[in-house]
């Protein structure tokens, strides 16, 4: 079989010309201003209207790459980095290699490049600390994560049991849910519906719904702990501020503890954009809070039902196959001993 080309250098260069951010001469890039010229539309009862279908798909990494010092690329730098990556031909899959044992994302429109995605010049989603990196971890955080990794390692390989698999392969929760809500890799879509009393965010995969009351109620008792925590929201001017606590700690965010507190801010800054930022406050894990900005761009629905567990034949097949292979190997070994 020949190499399967997914991206040629020429095609990449042609496509890079599309829609690169442009700075006027003398402009310096700025973070989204708190008060811009944009006035968001309002619901009939006077709240800023965040409703619609949104995506947070992005190529920007959470942390600034090690070989980058600045907070923003120039348009030329960005073009050069992407061209270099294209030349790397990292997207092509070689028959007989692990990446080749997969359906082709582009056939199903699931490649990040095939849908709306956020594109900008920032070199990291993290805006604080200024170096664009997650702050140092505390000793407790290091210890907890090492113990966790060891416990996971003891569970064995992904074909040994359901529980030895990652949370997304178990259809428990995916990156788009959080909070904080990160790019899921594909189907990175959300639907926001508002009422006077609640903001509802439907995360496409795995049909996770965040129900955020706006009535100022307290967080529940500490015994109530959830994968997505419990969220409380309020309007601060035109910004929806959401505070989430009561995590169960089973889906750590970059090593977070169950005591993590996430503060998210949603501000509609354009007809087709919500600026979404999150601050992670987890003194049990990091020496200081840290903040990232991840814009959400308007996309379109529907969000078709993502019933994951119900259709999770893959996990089942993997376990069945592994047990069969072991049985075959054991039978052959026995045969070998007999001969």
């Amino acid at each position: 079989m020949n190499k399967r080309p997914r991206m040629t250098l020429g095609r990449a260069m042609a496509l890079l010309a599309c829609g690169l951010p442009v700075l006027a001469a003398g402009q310096t890039p700025s973070r989204i201003a708190a008060a811009g010229d944009y006035t968001p539309p309002r619901t009939a009862y006077g709240h800023p209207d965040l409703q619609g279908f949104w995506t947070n798909a992005t190529y920007t990494p959470l942390e600034r790459p090690d070989d980058v010092a600045e907070a923003f690329y120039t348009p030329e730098e960005l073009a050069a980095r992407l061209a270099r990556a294209a030349a790397n031909e990292s997207a092509q899959t070689e028959p007989g290699t692990v990446p080749d044992v997969h359906y082709d994302f582009t056939q199903f429109g699931l490649d990040r490049s095939q849908s709306t995605f956020v594109q900008d010049l920032r070199t990291s989603l993290i805006v604080a600390p200024e170096d664009g990196k997650i702050p140092p971890m505390t000793a407790e955080g290091e210890q907890r994560n090492a113990a966790r990794a060891e416990a996971q390692r003891r569970l064995g390989e992904r074909w040994d049991s359901a529980q030895a698999n990652q949370l997304d392969d178990r259809c428990l929760i995916m990156r788009g849910s959080g909070p904080p809500m990160m790019d899921a890799g594909y189907n990175a879509n959300y639907q926001i519906v508002q009422t006077p009393q609640h903001v509802m965010i439907l995360v496409e995969m795995i049909h996770d719904v965040r129900l955020i009351p706006l009535d100022g109620r307290a967080q529940p008792h500490a015994n109530v702990r959830q994968w997505m925590g419990t969220s409380r929201g309020r309007w601060d001017g035109d910004t929806l501020v959401v505070e989430t606590t009561n995590f169960n700690g089973k889906n750590p965010f970059r090593g977070s503890s169950e005591h993590m507190r996430v503060i998210e801010r949603f501000t509609r800054v354009a007809d087709d954009e919500i600026m979404y930022s999150f601050t992670i406050d987890d003194p049990a894990t990091w020496t200081r809070p840290w903040t990232a900005e991840l814009p959400m761009k308007a996309t379109f629905g529907p969000l078709f039902e993502h019933a994951c567990h119900e259709g999770n034949y893959g996990l089942y097949n993997t376990l069945v196959g592994a047990r069969l292979e072991e049985a075959r190997a054991a039978a052959e070994a026995e045969q070998g001993e007999q001969n």
Binding site: A86, F108, P302, L324
Partner: protein
């Protein structure tokens, strides 16, 4: 008009970057990297489900009798946004599948490429209804 960086939505065909690598490894655990396979047959059903869709394809078996294969494909959700429905790929369509055999010994494979007999790709880049990219 906001000062500063113009943030632009763009659906340029950029690189495939950052697809979850764990997903690839999960597939390599389900399917056998040493057993590439090519099949040709007729579609009897397309389960438009998640996390991955499944094509049921009737293939002529070694003894000439029809054998049903299950071929794993991608989530249908983006295709649905692009107008693909359960009627888009008619039952009886001839399909050619290149992929890898399942490790569980049954008639299953992951469909690395799914095409029509003339080589056009199913959905994106092919002649099937719904192909052509982001509908906006």
């Amino acid at each position: 008009m906001r000062m500063g960086v113009a943030i632009v939505a763009c659906s340029a065909g950029w690189l495939l970057l950052g697809q979850p690598t764990s997903a690839h490894h999960a597939f390599a655990a389900e399917f056998d990297i040493n057993k590439p396979i090519t099949l040709a047959g007729t579609l009897t059903a397309w389960e438009m489900i998640n996390p991955h869709s499944w094509f049921h394809v009737e293939v002529e078996g070694p003894d000439g009798e029809p054998v049903t294969w299950m071929i794993e494909g991608g989530s249908p959700n983006q295709l649905i946004r692009m107008g693909v429905t359960k009627n888009s790929v008619p039952i009886g369509s001839e399909l050619v599948i290149e992929g890898y055999l399942a490790r569980d010994g049954t008639n299953k494979a992951v469909g690395r490429d799914i095409t029509f007999p003339d080589g056009t790709r199913l959905f994106i880049g092919g002649s099937a209804p719904g192909a052509g990219g982001d509908r906006r």
